[in-house]
C-alpha cells in the first residue's frame, strides 16, 4: 500500500498554496494507488496550521514543532524529512518546486538513495507505474519519466495542479526528533519591494521588453500589474540592460512560468523567451511590430505602441474589476 508524504512549506506563519496543490495531486494519485496521504509540517509554533492539510485530503498530519525550527536550515530539514519518511514508510514524497523545495528535495533524495523528479507538471498512474511529466530545455520539450525505486520523490510546479478541498478527518501526530547541528544558518529573509509577488507563483504576469523603451516607462507595467493583482516580469534584453532585476526575468536563462494570463508588452518573443512562457494558459501580446514572433504565440494581440495601449488597458481593466 502506498503512503504519499506531502512536505508542507511555511513562510511568515502561512502555508504556501503549492502545499495544498501538492496535497490535491497526492490525493488523486493515492486513489489510483489505493493508498493514503500524509502531511509533514516542520516549524515553530505551528498551532492551527495543522488543521489545514486535512481540508485537502491528508489523513495523517505529522508535525515537528520546535522553536529552533523557526527559520529553516536546508540540511536540518532534509534530515528531518528523510527520518520521518523512513519512520512512517513513505512510498512517495512530494513538495512544491519552490526555492525551498528545489533546494531541500535533492538532499532528501541523496539521503534516501532514491530518485527525484523536479518541477513536474503532470502526474498519472498508467501501466502500473507512476508517470511524471516535466518540461525540459526550459519548456522546449516535455519529458515523461518513471522512477524505479521503492521511494519516489517529486517537486510540483506551482499553479499547475489546482488545490481542491476534500475534507477528511485527519489525525495530528507530533513527532519528537533530535535536531542535528545546522551546517547552514539562515540569517534573515530580505523581501524585495515589500514582498512583491513572484513570477513563478503569480496567476497573472505583466511582462515588459525592449519595446518599453526604457526603465522610466515601467510605471505603466507596474500600474497595470497592481490593478490586476499581477506579478511583473521582464525579458532577458531588459535585464541585461540593467533596467530590471534578474529575479523578474522570464525565459531560458530566467524563470519558466505558467500563469493563467501572460501579458507581453513590447516583447518580440525570441525562442529563449517563448520557452519560458509558452505554457501560460492565455497570452496577450502588445507590440508595435505586426511581424513580431510573439503574435504567433498570443491568443490575443494588439498592434500598437505600449505607451499608448497600456494606460488605456489599465483604465478598462479597472472598470471591469470595479464592477
Amino acid at each position: 500500500m502506498s503512503n504519499i508524504l506531502v512536505i508542507y512549506e511555511i513562510r511568515d506563519k502561512n502555508i504556501k498554496k503549492v502545499s495544498f496543490e501538492a496535497t490535491t495531486a497526492a490525493s488523486h494519485l493515492s486513489k489510483q494507488l489505493s493508498g493514503k496521504v500524509s502531511a509533514l509540517l516542520i516549524g515553530s509554533n505551528l498551532g492551527s496550521l495543522t488543521e489545514k492539510p486535512g481540508v485537502y485530503g491528508a489523513e495523517k498530519v505529522y508535525t515537528i514543532d520546535n522553536p529552533a525550527l523557526e527559520k529553516h536550515s536546508p540540511d536540518v530539514f532534509a534530515h528531518l524529512i528523510s527520518e520521518t519518511a523512513k519512520e512512517i514508510g513513505a512510498t512517495h514524497i512530494i513538495m512544491g518546486a519552490t526555492a525551498m523545495g528545489k533546494d531541500i528535495m535533492p538532499r532528501v533524495a541523496f539521503k534516501l538513495n532514491s530518485p527525484l523528479v523536479q518541477d513536474i507538471i503532470g502526474l498519472e498512474f498508467e501501466n502500473n507505474k507512476v508517470s511524471y511529466q516535466r518540461p525540459v530545455i526550459a519548456g522546449k520539450l516535455r519529458s515523461r519519466v518513471s522512477l524505479q525505486s521503492e521511494i519516489q520523490l517529486a517537486t510540483i510546479r506551482p499553479n499547475i495542479f489546482q488545490a481542491q478541498e476534500n475534507k477528511v478527518s485527519s489525525e495530528v501526530v507530533a513527532l519528537s526528533k533530535d535536531l542535528p547541528t545546522p551546517r547552514v544558518i539562515v540569517e534573515e529573509i530580505l523581501a524585495t519591494g515589500g514582498g512583491k509577488l513572484d513570477v513563478t507563483e503569480a496567476e497573472i504576469i505583466v511582462s515588459g521588453g525592449r519595446g518599453m523603451q526604457g526603465p522610466d516607462n515601467w510605471h505603466l507595467i507596474e500600474t497595470l500589474a497592481k490593478t490586476l493583482g499581477a506579478a511583473t516580469g521582464a525579458s532577458r534584453a531588459v535585464v541585461d540592460s540593467g533596467w530590471r532585476e534578474h529575479g523578474e526575468q522570464v525565459g531560458q536563462t530566467g524563470k519558466t512560468v505558467s500563469p493563467n494570463l501572460y501579458i507581453a508588452c513590447g516583447i518580440s518573443g525570441a525562442i529563449q523567451h517563448q520557452a519560458g512562457m509558452a505554457s501560460s494558459k492565455y497570452i496577450v501580446a502588445i507590440n508595435k511590430d505586426p511581424e513580431a514572433p510573439i503574435f504567433k504565440l498570443a491568443d490575443y494581440g494588439i498592434v500598437g505602441d505600449v505607451k499608448e495601449v497600456l494606460p488605456k488597458l489599465n483604465e478598462e481593466v479597472a472598470k471591469v474589476r470595479g464592477e
Binding site: 540540511d75 532534509a78 519552490t98 533546494d103 535533492p106 538532499r107 533524495a109 541523496f110 538513495n113 532514491s114 530518485p115 527525484l116 523536479q118 516535466r134 518540461p135 525540459v136 530545455i137 526550459a138 520539450l141 516535455r142 519529458s143 515523461r144 519519466v145 524505479q148 551546517r183 547552514v184 539562515v186 540569517e187 534573515e188 529573509i189 530580505l190 524585495t192 512583491k196 513563478t200 507563483e201 490586476l228 535585464v239 532585476e245 534578474h246 529575479g247 526575468q249 536563462t253 494570463l261 529563449q272 505554457s279 492565455y282 496577450v284 505586426p290 503574435f295 504565440l297 498570443a298 491568443d299 490575443y300 494581440g301 494588439i302 498592434v303 500598437g304 505602441d305 495601449v309 481593466v317
Partner: protein, 249 residues
Amino acid sequence: MNIAVCVKEVPDTETRPKIQDDGKSIQKDNIKWIVNPYDEYAIELGLQLSEKNGGEVTIISFGPKSIEPTIRSALAMGAHKAIRIEGPKDVADPLVTARALATVLKDKGFDLILFGKQAIDNDNAQIPQMISEALEIPGTSVVVKFELNGENAMVEREIEGGKEKLSFKLPAVISCQKGLNEPRYRSLKGIMMSKKVPIDEVNIELTNEKLIIEELQMPPQKQPGRIVGEGPDAVPELVRLLKEEAKVI
C-alpha cells in the same frame, strides 16, 4: 584557496531541439555545444576568489571525450586545471552523476565547490545539493551574492519575492545564479593557454539509473491567436475577450 567548478556541456540556447527516433533523447547533430551559461557565473566567482586569495581553479566535467572542446572553453576563461570523468552524454538520473562527482571531489581538499544553479538542458537543479549531502559539508543553491571573510561565507540566494541571507563555514558547495557577477570574456591569451592545460581523465564505476526517461514530446503547439486590433481603440474589445471568453480577469 583551491576551488572546483563543475561544468556541463549543453546545447546553445538558440537550439530548437529535435527528438531522435527512439523518442527518448534529442538529436545530437548540428547542435552548437556550449558551457552551461549558469556555470560561467561559477567559473567567474572561482577566478575572482583565486585571484584574491591565491590557489587554483579546477574545471570538472562528466561526459565522453567529445566534451573536451567545451572543457577547454571553460578553461579559456582562466582556470588552471581540468578533470573529465568518463561517462555517457545522456545520464538522466542526477543521483548517478552526483555519486560519480562526489567520488572525485572527496579527499581532494577543495575549499569551495561551485556549480551553475542548473543545466539548461535537463533543468534538474539537483546535483549541487546532493554533493553537499554526499560530502556532509554546508551547501546552498541559486546564489546571487557571495562574500568571504576568512573561512566564513555570507551569501544571498534568490527566493520567491526576495532573498535569503545565509552564513556557513568553508569548505562548502554553492550553485550560482545570474546576477552574481559578470562572467569575463575569453581572451586570446586565455584561449591559447587553455590548449596547453592537460585534461585528467578519471574512470569511475557508475551506479544504475533509477530515473528513466520514457518519452520526450514536443509541447502542445498553441493555435495562433488573433489580432484584436490596432492601438488603444482595440483595448475595450481585448478586455471583453479576457473577461467573457478567456475568463481570466
